[in-house]
């Protein structure tokens, strides 16, 4: 496919986790093709797994990847001897943390106290609300990989109650995290979770939404900082066009009134050069959970993207 890349232009894959994705990429496409002068198009995927497979196979040239999608793309590419080129990331993709949150009045004072208790997590494939914080619990010596049955009889494990909303979207859909946070305040004590996982920014979002009213929740622990989305070019991408895309994105000016609404929707002020140092934590978490194997194969048995 690489020979045809330059003539057909650069095709980017993005995942349609929300209707706004169409607005964003239609807008970027018009800008990149118009003022940018780049032959650019995009296609949308319903989930990250197919997008990553198509990137590595050269069916799309560039992919706007979740952190988990990057981890899988890296593994698939390494296994097949394919070269991937990092393109860019958002300023807001750097140094995120995931939180373990409890009710403010909870007797739980440390991660160790979660032993035998119920933890509400996001979707099976959410890096921020499932994979990374579960890894944090494992590092604290907790057993989190027992049968995922909500069974309080087994006091040796943390009981993981998962909220599988938007499976395949790698946690981009906020629904799973929101339901996990709500579970801490379930009316019936039997349904109530003792802790919930969420990304740091959602602590403020859920406060604004009234899901976690101020004073109702306490941050029990947080992961070390990690990086989030990253844009990656695959083997079919024309090098000059990829370089041009990177330059155009890095040059996008938040002061430009045509671009500002698109940047606001996409949640950034500025595109930054990519860095790959922020994904080690997730690589470990994926291995611990057996989510993907070293070659990028999907190994999580209950994952249906």
């Amino acid at each position: 496919m690489s020979g045809t890349g330059a003539s057909r232009g650069l095709v980017l894959g993005a995942v349609a986790y929300d209707p706004k994705v169409v607005t964003i990429w239609d807008g970027f496409r018009a800008w990149l093709r118009g003022p940018g002068g780049l032959e650019f198009d995009y296609v949308l995927y319903s989930n990250y797994e197919r997008q990553v497979e198509d990137l590595v196979a050269g069916r799309v040239d560039v992919a706007w990847n979740s952190p988990l999608a990057w981890v899988r793309a890296r593994r698939l590419a390494a296994a097949r001897g394919v070269i991937l080129t990092p393109v860019t990331m958002r300023d807001s993709d750097r140094d995120l943390r995931s939180l373990v949150v409890t009710r403010a009045d909870s007797p739980v004072r440390s991660l160790g106290d979660l032993n035998g208790r119920v933890v509400a997590v996001g979707a099976v494939d959410s890096p921020q609300a499932t994979l990374l914080p579960l890894s944090l619990l494992r590092a604290a010596g907790l057993r989190v990989d027992g049968p995922r049955v909500d069974n309080r009889g087994d006091r040796g494990d943390v009981v993981v109650r998962r909220f599988d909303i938007g499976v395949g979207l790698h946690g981009d859909h906020v629904g799973g995290e929101r339901e996990a946070a709500r579970a801490m305040f379930a009316a019936d004590p039997a349904d109530r979770a003792d802790a919930a996982f969420m990304i740091d920014s959602n602590l403020l979002l859920f406060a604004r939404e009234g899901v976690l009213p101020p004073g109702s929740a306490r941050v029990l622990a947080q992961t070390p900082p990690y990086d989030h989305c990253t844009m990656t070019a695959g083997p079919s991408a024309d090098q000059a066009q990829t370089a041009s895309l990177r330059e155009l994105l890095l040059d996008m000016d938040y002061g430009d009134p045509d671009l500002r609404p698109l940047l606001d929707l996409e949640g950034l002020k500025q595109w930054l050069p990519p860095r790959l140092s922020g994904y080690d934590q997730l690589e470990r978490a994926v291995d611990e959970a057996g989510f993907y194997d070293a070659e990028g194969g999907i190994r999580a048995s209950d994952y249906r993207p």
Binding site: R94, D200, L203, L204, L212, Y254, K269
Partner: protein, 400 residues
């Protein structure tokens, strides 16, 4: 001196970001703000908030060994400065409005600092001279101050002992007035939708004008139904005449034909009805309406004169609009004869031949008065006397 702000125990989930934002506003991009506080999740809040708003939480301060707990450093980002870089003020709040209103100001208040971007307003009239009159702010203030309540401004319980044939004449006139006031409501409402809101006082004035007509429609309808009978007739010719006003595309010619010529003529008509009213309700509704209509006429005359003063050649456009309307109506009957006869009967007060003669003469006098009024207003706008007389004579027989 380093910029600092202390949030005490306030989190960013309860408005703490206002204090941070307020302190950052004093700084330039790249400068640092030290934030202290005791909220349990302050560090988490700040990290997430900074990322969302393009600032940076300096990691070294939070993690340095000698950094006190609950102390953070935020490095101000550039997003806010970038966002407002191309912002412009939409003229001066207290006026006068700019000669040309920028469509990109959209719905922004006059005088507001307008962020670049957003949808431009689709208004057709963006040039001050094409919509403005210096008297507009004062007319609006007067209009707002003299709104009346149809429920209480008229004594609806007053005795109405009108002979049946005179009552029929009153009902016919009310039926005719409602149809005219409906046209007079729709036209300013339609002009409003194409007016740039930068010309705030004109927008307000047109809105009140439409509201005035809404009340007129109400009181004329109520008077028409007061005796319990059905309403009168609506003639095809009368409606055709009014319809030509609805399709007038230009702000000034629409305002000229409706307010200067039409409503100007109506001032005399309403005074006539007030003077010859057989009952106090009829007298009241005509009196209340004439007060409002006088303001509409004042704006129409002042605006048309304003435009002609800045562009005398516009007199030609105005003249053409009268001629065009006249040509469009030449094959129609014009005034509903039942309306004309009702005016005669109203002034006569009875079917007595001598009374009818008096009524007839009174209506002739009314028509002469209407003509003089139109000529006076046309002359004020800038037409030479001869041309004013000629144009007045071309005005529709339907009065409005």
């Amino acid at each position: 001196m380093r910029a600092t702000t202390d949030l005490e125990d306030l989190g960013l989930d309860e408005g703490g970001h206002l204090l941070v934002d307020h302190a950052l506003a004093q700084l330039r991009p790249g400068e640092r703000l030290t934030i202290t506080g005791r909220h349990q999740a302050l560090g988490v809040h700040l990290a997430a908030w900074c990322r969302e708003h393009g600032h940076r939480l300096a990691a070294e301060a939070a993690e340095a060994d000698d950094a006190p707990a609950g102390q953070f450093e935020v490095v101000k980002g550039t997003a806010n400065e970038q966002r407002w870089r191309d912002a412009r003020r939409a003229g001066a709040a207290d006026g006068p409005p700019d000669a040309s209103a920028d469509p990109r100001w959209g719905l922004a208040a006059r005088g507001a600092l307008v962020e670049a971007g957003g949808p431009p307003i689709g208004a057709e009239w963006t040039q001050r001279d094409h919509v403005w009159a210096d008297i507009a702010p004062r007319l609006y203030a007067a209009a707002a101050a003299s709104q009346w309540d149809p429920a209480t401004a008229v004594d609806w319980h007053a005795e109405v002992a009108v002979p049946p044939e005179i009552e029929r004449a009153v009902v016919q006139l009310m039926t005719y007035l409602v149809e005219n006031e409906q046209a007079a409501l729709i036209i300013p409402a339609r002009l409003l939708t194409q007016l740039h809101p930068h010309f705030r006082e004109v927008m307000q004035l047109l809105a009140v004008q439409a509201a005035d007509e809404a009340r007129h429609v109400e009181v004329f309808t109520r008077r028409g139904l007061l005796a319990g009978g059905p309403l009168g007739t609506s003639s095809a010719g009368g409606r055709t005449s009014l319809h030509t006003l609805l399709t007038e595309p230009d702000f000034t010619t629409a305002s000229f034909l409706l307010s200067v010529l039409g409503e100007g003529t109506f001032l005399d008509l309403l005074r006539f009805i007030n003077r010859h009213a057989p009952d106090s309700v009829t007298a009241d509704v005509a009196r209340l309406a004439v007060r409002d209509e006088a303001r509409h006429v004042a704006f129409g005359v002042a605006h048309t004169a304003h435009l002609v003063k800045s562009d005398p050649s516009y007199l030609g456009v105005l003249r053409q609009s009268v001629e065009r309307r006249h040509a469009a109506l030449i094959d129609t009957a014009g005034l509903n004869t039942e309306v004309f006869d009702s005016l005669v009967l109203l002034a006569a007060g009875s079917w007595d031949p001598a009374a009818i003669r008096r009524g007839w003469q009174a209506v002739r006098g009314l028509q002469q008065q209407m003509d003089e009024g139109r000529r006076r207003r046309l002359a004020f706008i800038g037409f030479p006397d001869g041309e004013a007389a000629e144009l007045s004579a071309l005005h529709t027989r339907n009065f409005m």
